[in-house]
């Protein structure tokens, strides 16, 4: 009994420590976003916004939202991330299925190359891409960002998904084919639903990468036509270039975090539902 109690206390303590460690910056950001600009520059020592002049209410959010560049960058980020995620997951699903089910020459080569690409340092590719994209006319466009995002997330997605496909017994497709399905129908109606947890995992990973990327977003864009949020935030300069509007930036950052939290919550439910849907035999 006591042993159990001790373990429980230890568990709770551990969770609290990790939660504080992870959430402190987020809470700080939220707190900052409610402080008035003056309070920040003057130096308001309190963690929470002080009363009176120190508290800005939702002014910072309104300011951030009213900035057309910021709104445009949200559109860019959402559009680019969603398109990159969708394309990447679709291609990865097909590729991973082939990798899991077919024996072909160079399979190992494809897999290792994919892994090598994923490990490649992003920064080293930026300058050549910059030149290449300018020549090809992809600089400062949506496809100019979607392509690198896809190529960096595909390897991981393929690896994750092929592991999922390998877990699905061959009999599933065979049963479907005997039941009258074409190979494509068997894949679409049986295999993909069964691999759904894997598909969503891959989707989340891809979306994270695209949404959080700064290096590509910063270097491969020059105007607001394609600049995503992380890059846009770095260009967020208020009226006075020597005192950056930290409070407004914080508010903008909070807004930028909301979609990712939503997406994780939605997908997480799918992942859990998929994992508990039951095995093939008992």
């Amino acid at each position: 009994m006591r042993e159990v109690d001790k373990r429980k206390i230890g568990l709770v303590l551990g969770i609290v420590v990790i939660m504080v460690w992870c959430l402190l910056p987020v809470v700080w950001m939220v707190s900052l976003s409610f402080k008035s600009a003056d309070a920040v520059t003057v130096g308001s020592p309190g963690f929470l916004p002080s009363g009176g002049d120190g508290f800005a209410g939702f002014d910072n959010y309104v300011d951030a939202w009213n900035n057309t560049q910021f709104r445009r960058s949200i559109l860019n980020s959402v559009g680019i991330s969603l398109i990159a995620t969708t394309l990447s997951v679709v291609i990865a699903t097909l590729a991973a299925y082939a990798v899991a089910r077919l024996e072909f020459r160079g399979k190992r080569f494809v897999l290792t190359t994919a892994l090598a690409i994923a490990m490649f340092p992003v920064v080293s590719l930026v300058s050549p891409l910059f030149d290449l994209w300018r020549t090809l006319g992809l600089f400062d466009t949506w496809p100019g960002l979607i392509l690198p995002y896809m190529s960096f997330t595909l390897p991981l997605a393929i690896w994750t998904l092929s592991a999922f496909f390998r877990e699905i017994p061959w009999e599933m497709e065979q049963a479907a084919q005997v039941d009258g399905a074409t190979s494509w129908q068997a894949f679409r109606k049986v295999i993909v639903p069964l691999a759904a947890p894997g598909v969503f995992t891959a989707a989340i990973l891809t979306f994270f990468f695209a949404w959080n990327d700064f290096v590509f977003g910063f270097t491969l864009t020059s105007t607001e036509t394609a600049r995503p949020i992380p890059a846009a935030l770095s260009f967020f300069v208020g009226a006075d270039p020597f005192s950056r509007p930290a409070a407004t930036l914080a508010a903008a950052a909070v807004i930028a975090t909301i979609p990712i939290v939503l997406i994780v919550l939605i997908f997480q439910r799918k992942i859990v539902a998929g994992l508990t849907s039951g095995a093939v035999k008992g």
Binding site: Q174, A176, Q177, V178, S277, G282
Partner: protein, 406 residues
């Protein structure tokens, strides 16, 4: 509904080893045929070739009058129940059963009506909304069968459908499958390694060994007239006893003594030297318990172990076999997936027998029921060809071949 004709079918894998070698079986319309054999005999491969999941290397496969060698599985209109059921875990029981109909784009009302009819037959009504993951083994088995029967397929194929169930359920499902097949009158091919299933379910049974058809006959014919040593040893439990035997006139000398056999039987085996006698355990009896124990077929033997089962008693009587027979017996044991450590005779006596372990017993043998095999080729020399179904001639030779290097 239609018959299935398998003509000289061969399956060779990449390394050239024939998993199925020149097998011919004709399954009549509405017939229940069993493919049976020890593991690795090619029975599942043969079934998968019929359904189209494996390519056929050579030979012809007909369903009805259509040659289907090159048709995809979905074009063959066959229904199959897999060993692990292969239910779709993301679909409810209803949708699992309806799956083939949905693929065929059957209207919803008809789907509903057919699925409910099938679920009624299989007593799955209260489970229709559940997912396969929440069902017991027997229920999953029934769902898999439901998926097969809604199809109105030309034939049913079963791939060891009961091997994942416990013994009690297996017995019940066996009866269930038999009843269903009789009621629907549908052509069925059923793969199993379990000889009880083979004997009880099949109209005819095809015994395979290392990809070669050994004998195709009714269960009774297989039991009473096995074509060779392999079939004789495979069918029956406890298995047939094999003893070294020498025939002179109508006298057969066995390790335990001599017995007389009928003249016509003796004629078939004259001048062959050392033979292998096959006698089923139930063709022995405690000499004190039978009034037929007079015709010079009684011998005395040391009893090693006695197993009393109530209605009958098994007694184990050890004997020494000459090396050439011993070699053949070991080979046979290996073919049958068995592992017998010493040569012994198993006799099944009446339950009231009073023989004791370590003692001597007087045993009578029904010599007329004995089979005599050629120890070199394994052929049954005393087989009654008119009541033994089909015994392909090459099976005889194959029985003598040493194990191919795999």
């Amino acid at each position: 509904m239609s018959g299935i004709t398998i003509k000289n079918i061969v399956k060779k894998y990449g390394d050239g080893f024939p998993a199925v070698n020149d097998v011919s079986i004709d399954v009549q319309d509405g017939e229940f045929v069993i493919l049976v054999g020890p593991s690795g005999c090619g029975k599942s491969t043969l079934l998968r070739m019929i359904v189209g999941l494996e390519d056929i290397t050579a030979g012809d496969l007909f369903i009805g009058d259509t040659r289907v060698n090159d048709l995809a599985p979905r074009e063959r209109n066959l229904a199959m129940v897999f060993q692990n059921y292969a239910l779709y875990p993301h679909l409810t029981v209803f949708e699992n059963i309806a799956f083939p109909l949905r693929l065929a784009k059957v209207p919803d009302a008809e789907v509903d009506q057919k699925v409910r009819a099938a679920s009624k037959t299989l007593e799955l009504d209260e489970h229709l909304d559940r997912k396969p993951g929440n069902l017991s083994g027997g229920q999953r088995q029934r769902v898999a069968m439901g998926r097969a029967i809604v199809r109105e397929a030309d034939a049913f194929l079963f791939d060891e459908p009961l091997s994942n169930l416990d013994a009690k359920l297996r017995g019940q499902m066996r009866t269930e499958i038999s009843r269903l097949q009789k009621r629907l009158g549908i052509t069925t091919v059923y793969v199993t390694h379990d000889q009880t299933e083979a004997m009880t379910l099949g109209d005819r049974v095809a015994v395979l060994k290392r990809g070669v058809l050994q004998q195709l006959a009714t269960p009774r014919e297989l039991y009473e007239n096995p074509g060779n040593l392999f079939v004789a040893g495979f069918i029956g439990s406890p298995p047939m006893n094999f003893l070294p035997a020498e025939v002179e006139g109508t006298t057969v000398t066995l390790p335990f003594g001599s017995v007389r056999i009928p003249q016509e039987m003796a004629d078939k085996v004259q001048g062959r030297g050392l033979l292998m006698a096959g006698i089923r355990p139930e063709h022995f009896e405690d000499a004190d318990l039978t009034d037929r124990a007079t015709d010079g077929a009684v011998f005395t033997a040391q009893v090693d172990v006695v197993e009393w089962l109530g209605h009958e008693t098994y007694a184990y009587l050890p004997f020494e076999a000459p090396p050439e027979v011993e070699q053949q017996l070991r080979q046979l044991e290996q073919d049958l997936d068995g592992e017998s450590l010493h040569t012994q005779l198993v006799v099944s006596l009446d339950g009231s027998s009073r023989i004791t372990e370590g003692g001597e017993a007087r045993i009578w043998v029904d010599a007329a029921k004995m089979h005599l095999f050629d120890p070199a080729t394994g052929d049954n020399l005393t087989v009654d060809r008119s009541r033994s179904g089909t015994i392909p001639s090459h099976a005889m030779q194959d029985a003598a071949d040493p194990v191919p290097a795999v």
